[in-house]
Symmetry: C2
């Protein structure tokens, strides 16, 4: 820890917090990075953990290990519970339950966003989202478990439901997970079963809007849809999922509702800012928008508190998109602003440099949009591969991991197919039998709200 | 599936069941392999998953994928609940709760063994064993979490307890996990913390017997002990652990009891055969020994039922050790016996060929005992590496995994340090906060039996 007297507290070790911390590495400050989990998460590849391509360690390096050489930072595993902006302290809870207060001179809050079910939290049991490592392991167990159960099921209708996968939400996350489930069933698992043909699995993608991947613009969006359909994925646009239960989903399209039996449901439809955004808003008098994000000033600070920054998915500014790039650049911006102030230099407002968007459709197909350049197909995929490899090497600097991943992904194997004990909240749960875990089904004993309203969801 | 009419049911996809199945690949039979989990487990490397070297997928390939090319076998994910040896059927439960009956002409049961706490099942909450992938992930979370909590703990005595690791049992499993915890603390984590020095972690190994690794004989056992002590591990022989609770262990040695504060406890002291051994004994009139293993005839079959074989850790024969080698050779033997019968040839009793024992002490040290040849130190480690690599390649045939593993293990990194949501039964549990998981400590609210008796444990 350095002897510098300016104390910076960074909340959250995601893209925003990590880049802010790194950008302070040569500054005369002492940094404390607080996170609830021990790892940074390379969220854009989470869907690959959910489909058995990568292990969790490969996209979630420990924060300590990433920051090992940066001597002016301490990492603490703790959950932030509140802020006192006047006294300039953060209150937090340690893993063993003890609370503590941490004083700061500058504060950077980058707590991100969680899944939002738009008021239908009961859906979460049946349709997990994909925001954390545990989400991904839960989904991995459900997806692979569905094929296992289908293999044993004798009733053709029920078997069909176990082989039906409903993905809600047609943004990059929904598209990528749908694409990988299709690849799993068409290619990876195609020879593994005796009673079922995994290639017959039905992968359905629902979106309430008129197109999938809308943010890429009409042309790329259409190419993305074509790519998905070539993989045999049923793409249902203008189709709103209005209910989800253990056995399937209810979809509303053109005023009509129909029920689809699907044992595996995945939620990729919406996000909600961390509750810490609301705390910051209440403490500073700033506004929160519908997605729970706190409005910040043009330099990402809070009104009346130039020493407090809110960055990334939890803040609202200039209709910036909720992508990793924004969080990274804002992290660097907040760090720069702190450094300039320490040198009594003028500070600047945040300016986002759009480095483009990407979504991968299948193994060798992706779409990329970058400053008027639009790539699709294999060329898009090469660009996607390059950027992901560059990032992974950039922050992990571990040649072996990248090598391993590149071999696995291009080779098409799925090394990570272990069903672990994550499935505790779903339909498929783990029991103990003789000391060894065993997959067991949960009875549908919990109350479940039926189709209630017509609020748009998908 | 082949058209052959002879039906073989194999229960358990461990070393015994997998080798039996593979040995039947060209036989005119139809094989059904039943297991509760979807993967084979390379148990000898489980301790590497627990200490972050390997991911679970690297030692637990899906059974389906291992057996993909063997067309005469079907894999079913189901838990066997009983046997009717007269009607020649197995009853089992599918993951979704449905029961079914499976008829056989030959039956091979290889259900293995679970952890035994010698009647002190309350210890399991505080000192997980290491028999399954979930055990290993649970331990990984506890071991890495202990360093995290120590970093935040202000009270020096409590911090000491979080940095104390008690391993109960001085067989290969206990020795290997103790060695890897020491390497983690001495080497891997040494630079990652600011408040604590992980190198000060105390790793204690307890065994009730007079020496660790007793099965290797005096000379190697002494070398093993020396290797452990060189890593800074405190080896306590003739020391019986008589109680375990949340805060530590009570050890009895030379008639005296003392309490040691240790937040992390690992149980590697004993095994108990699968309850299916008792079911087979009851159904056939065979005996069960104290460890719950069913006594088999010299050809591994049950008395009065030459078509039923019990193999591996769940059977008792000629004081054979409970090692993977025995299970593999018995699996092949049972398969050979079935094939010989189908060809009306004479069958033979099982003969164990001792291929030696191995235990690795640290990164470059292992001890190996093989037909009078005794290796230790670096030479032992090379032999150990060779055999493990040969096995991994043998059954997985995946160059990239082996390469990845070899790089990681010799390079000394720990790619898998994610704390996942396995810690549901321990002191450190996961809560949900805003949709993201968070480490929380469990209150000591469950009843716990105090030190009650003096039964030997360690």
């Amino acid at each position: 820890m350095s002897d510098a007297s300016h104390r910076v507290v960074v909340v959250g070790g995601g893209f925003g917090g990590l880049f802010a911390t790194r950008a302070l590495r040569r500054a005369p400050v002492r940094v404390t990075l607080l996170d609830r989990v021990n790892h940074h998460l390379f969220q854009p590849l989470l869907y690959q953990v959910a489909t058995g391509i990568l292990s969790e360690g490969e996209i979630a390096p420990p924060l300590r290990s990433v920051l090992r050489r940066q001597r002016n930072v301490g990492v603490e595993l703790a959950e932030v519970s509140g802020f006192d902006l006047d006294r300039r302290t953060v209150t937090a809870v340690r893993p063993d339950g003890g609370g503590f207060e941490l004083p700061y001179d500058s504060l950077i809050v980058s707590a991100g966003a969680g899944q939002s079910y738009f008021g239908h939290d009961q859906f979460s049991r049946w349709a997990p989202g994909m925001k954390t490592i545990n989400d991904a392991l839960e989904l991995r167990g459900r997806i692979l478990g569905a094929f296992e159960i289908a293999e044993l099921e004798q009733d053709p209708e029920k078997r069909r439901a176990w082989l039906t996968f409903a993905v809600v939400g047609g943004g990059p996350t929904g598209v990528e997970i749908a694409g990988q489930i299709a690849e799993l069933s068409r290619r990876v698992l195609s020879d593994d079963f005796r009673e079922i043909d995994p290639r017959n699995a039905r992968v359905m993608l629902f979106d309430g809007g008129e197109e999938v991947l809308a943010e890429f613009g009409d042309k790329l969006s259409a190419k993305g849809k074509m790519g998905l359909e070539r993989l045999g994925i049923e793409v249902h646009t203008s189709s709103t999922v209005v209910d989800i239960d253990g056995d399937g989903v209810v979809v509303e399209s053109a005023g009509e509702r129909r029920r689809i039996d699907a044992q595996t449901k995945i939620w990729a439809a919406g996000v909600q800012a961390s509750p810490l955004a609301r705390r910051l808003a209440d403490a500073s008098g700033a506004e929160c928008d519908r997605a729970g994000r706190v409005s910040v000033l043009p330099d990402c600070s809070l009104p009346g508190h130039p020493e407090v920054f809110a960055i990334g998915d939890m803040m609202a500014l200039d209709r910036l998109p909720g992508v990793a790039e924004v969080a990274m650049q804002q992290g660097i911006h907040a760090a720069t602003t702190i450094k300039r102030r320490l040198r009594a230099e003028e500070t600047k407002p945040f300016r986002y440099r759009d480095l483009g968007s990407m979504a991968t459709i299948s193994r060798f197909r992706a779409i990329v949009s970058f400053r008027g350049i639009r790539l699709s197909g294999f060329l898009g995929w090469l660009a996607w591969l390059f950027v992901h490899l560059a990032f992974l090497t950039g922050f992990k600097n571990r040649f072996s991991t990248v090598l391993h991943w590149a071999i696995t992904f291009t080779g098409g194997g799925r090394p990570e197919r272990t069903i672990t004990m994550q499935q505790i909240i779903g339909r498929v749960a783990i029991g103990e039998a003789g000391g060894r875990p065993f997959l067991l089904s949960l009875a549908d004993d919990e109350e479940h709200a039926g189709p209630t309203d017509t609020e748009p969801l998908g």
